[in-house]
């Protein structure tokens, strides 16, 4: 093993010490997980979605376990951007990792306002624009399923901030590439994908939907093939860095996303199976580089698209 092995990766102008982030909505504001492991080991933290005003979130029940998956309808419960800046951000800045703030609006103007407000705050690596939350009635996903509105949101955020703008895409669309292209044309620096897949569950005994909000968003290993397919398609057509997420639970999952075209990955639901999984994934990636004598993880980005250079059987793990 050489000393030169590097997990460092660049999402546009954001340099990450390694490509493993934690996904928005699963990590809160890092208060809880920082009691379990050194958050500074992560490539970055995508904090829970923040809105202009505080939001109570959806009525319970908010969770249903599905085969190898999780259906949730949290509904963007959060204390609002002003509380976030005052009570959470000072601590987040000192965590020793990149902080990416996920923002959600209920009108175009709200997205613009959020970008302007957060633009003034030091210590942020990027904004992740959530145009894809399936769990709120107004706003959220409705912006993310049409190229025009997705581009309009992106444009406003772009105008409101000089921070890097990452747009988180919804998988609940017919043509992911069309949306991706539209938001990149509107000024997105990078794309996060995928958000959860819209779904419902029904309790046969009660003859009613299980979730208080009826609709929920599906995450976890069950959605991984869909996420990978979308990364694959967007990577081929749209020339911006991609942050891949959707069912990553181990380093081999992370490698699949990277080889499909992701520059970085995020662990979300995987934290619930094993809160230490992001650290194990970082270790696993390191081990993979060593074993395959790759000097840097960036060599592997999009590697699966390269048809000339297939690896022979005995070199595989």
């Amino acid at each position: 093993m050489t000393a030169a092995l590097s997990l460092e990766t660049k999402v546009g102008r954001v340099t990450l010490k390694n490509p493993v982030l934690v996904a928005s909505g699963t990590f809160g504001f890092a208060r809880e997980y920082e009691k379990l492991f050194p958050v500074s080991a992560l490539g970055g933290v995508m904090v829970t979605g923040v809105t202009l005003e505080p939001r109570a979130g959806n009525p319970p029940p908010r969770l249903v376990e599905t085969p190898a998956g999780l259906l949730n309808s949290i509904g963007l419960q959060n204390p609002g951007v002003h509380w976030f800046i005052k009570e959470e951000l000072p601590r987040l800045r000192d965590l020793g990792t990149e902080i990416i703030v996920n923002i959600s609006g209920f009108s175009l103007e709200e997205y613009g306002r959020l970008a302007e407000i957060l633009d003034r705050e030091p210590g942020l690596a990027a904004l992740e624009v959530n145009i894809s939350c399936p769990n709120v009635k107004k706003g959220g996903m409705t912006f993310g399923v049409h190229p025009e509105s997705a581009a309009a949101v992106t444009r406003l955020v772009r105008q409101g901030t000089s921070l890097p703008v990452w747009v988180k895409l919804s998988p609940n669309v017919t043509d992911i590439v069309e949306i991706a292209q539209a938001v990149v044309d509107a000024g997105a620096d990078a794309l996060s994908l995928i958000n959860t897949l819209s779904g419902i569950a029904i309790d046969p005994d009660k003859r009613r939907p299980v979730l208080g909000n009826v609709f929920g968003g599906l995450s976890g290993p069950a959605v991984k093939p869909v996420a990978l397919r979308m990364i694959w398609q967007v990577y081929q057509e749209v020339p911006v860095p991609l942050v891949g997420m959707g069912g990553i639970t181990n380093y081999r999952d992370a490698l699949e996303f990277i080889m499909a075209g992701a520059t970085a990955v995020a662990v979300g639901t995987g934290l619930f199976l094993d809160p230490l999984s992001p650290l194990k994934i970082i270790e696993g990636l390191q081990g993979f580089l060593a074993k395959h004598q790759e000097e840097t993880i960036t060599n592997l980005i999009g590697a699966a698209h390269n048809r000339e250079e297939s690896i022979d059987e005995e070199k595989r793990e």
Binding site: E32, L36, A68, Q77, F272, L273
Partner: protein, 292 residues
């Protein structure tokens, strides 16, 4: 709170015709840190398997810091608990814990009512066992009281516990579907607790609910109550005790994802808005919980 790999010391079904199991685990770190009413998240999946996906929150029934052990009682309700019921001594389990905000100290109360429904019993037992343990800082030459039954005499107790004051009285209303599901009554009696069982089918004790069983003893001289059990039971207990003006605490149960307060998936409605059952609870002041 931390992840801990726990060894299965024993796992046994409780009684005939029940789907309740008693699990004893070697988990030294968790045993050292656990307080009454706290819980652990248990991974109920083979290693490398991804289904069932989520860890199961299970209340701690007894914790033994000196021996490094914890005990859990669980009911088989789905795929996760069915998997758990098939473990054998020597197997290992992935745990996360101890978690949550447990019961408050009962120090200032004298006559305490307990309402347990089904698998709500273990959380209350952890409280009583803690509260009736000899505490060297408190213990003095005060007389040992015998609560409700002669089995409460400390020296005869299988747990070697003594009551920590002369004035504490616990009265338990313990509800279950049927006689066989009333488990560990001997431990309750040994802890000096007066036990009033109630069963849905009338096979033991009062034929009906715990609130029905408790009605004729109320208002009594009780100054506090603790309850743990299914939602409908907690709601009736809360209503009844509010009527008599007796304060108390409720220990709630909810499906959870992270178990530590990050994902906001397990909220319940309270007078302060939504609160996380996993980390603001599972124990809440009774008057704050809203059952809608």
């Amino acid at each position: 709170m931390q992840p801990e790999t726990a060894g299965v010391i024993s796992l046994s079904p409780l009684g005939r015709a029940t789907d309740l199991y008693h699990l004893v685990l070697a988990a030294p770190q968790i045993a050292k840190e656990t307080g009454p009413g706290q819980f652990v998240m248990v991974r109920c999946t083979d290693e490398q398997a991804l289904d069932p996906l989520l860890l199961r929150p299970l209340n701690v029934f007894r914790f033994h810091p000196a021996e490094g052990r914890i005990e859990i009682i669980f009911r088989v309700v789905g795929r996760g608990t069915a998997w758990l019921a098939e473990r054998r001594p020597g197997d290992y389990l992935s745990l996360l814990g101890p978690l949550g905000r447990g019961f408050s100290s009962l120090e200032k109360y004298r006559r305490i009512l307990l309402f347990a429904g089904g698998t709500g019993m273990p959380a209350l037992f952890s409280l009583v066992e803690q509260e009736t343990k000899t505490d060297s800082s408190l213990s003095s030459s005060v007389g040992k009281s015998i609560m409700g039954s002669s089995a409460g005499e400390s020296t005869g107790s299988p747990m070697g516990n003594t009551m920590d004051g002369p004035n504490r009285e616990f009265t338990l209303f313990y509800g279950a579907r049927t006689k066989d599901e009333l488990v560990f009554l001997d431990l309750w009696q040994a802890a000096g607790v007066t036990v009033h069982p109630a069963t849905d089918d009338g096979s033991a004790g009062f034929h009906g609910t715990v609130t029905g069983a408790a009605a004729r003893f109320l208002p009594g001289e009780f100054d506090f109550y603790c309850a743990c059990g299914p939602r409908p039971m907690l709601r009736t207990v809360q209503e009844m005790m509010a009527k008599y003006g007796i304060p108390g605490e409720l220990c709630l149960e909810e499906a959870m994802a992270c178990g530590i307060g990050a994902c906001l998936g397990c909220v319940c409605e309270t007078v302060h808005g939504y609160r996380r059952v996993c980390s603001d609870g599972p124990v809440f002041p009774a008057e704050e919980v809203k059952f809608s």
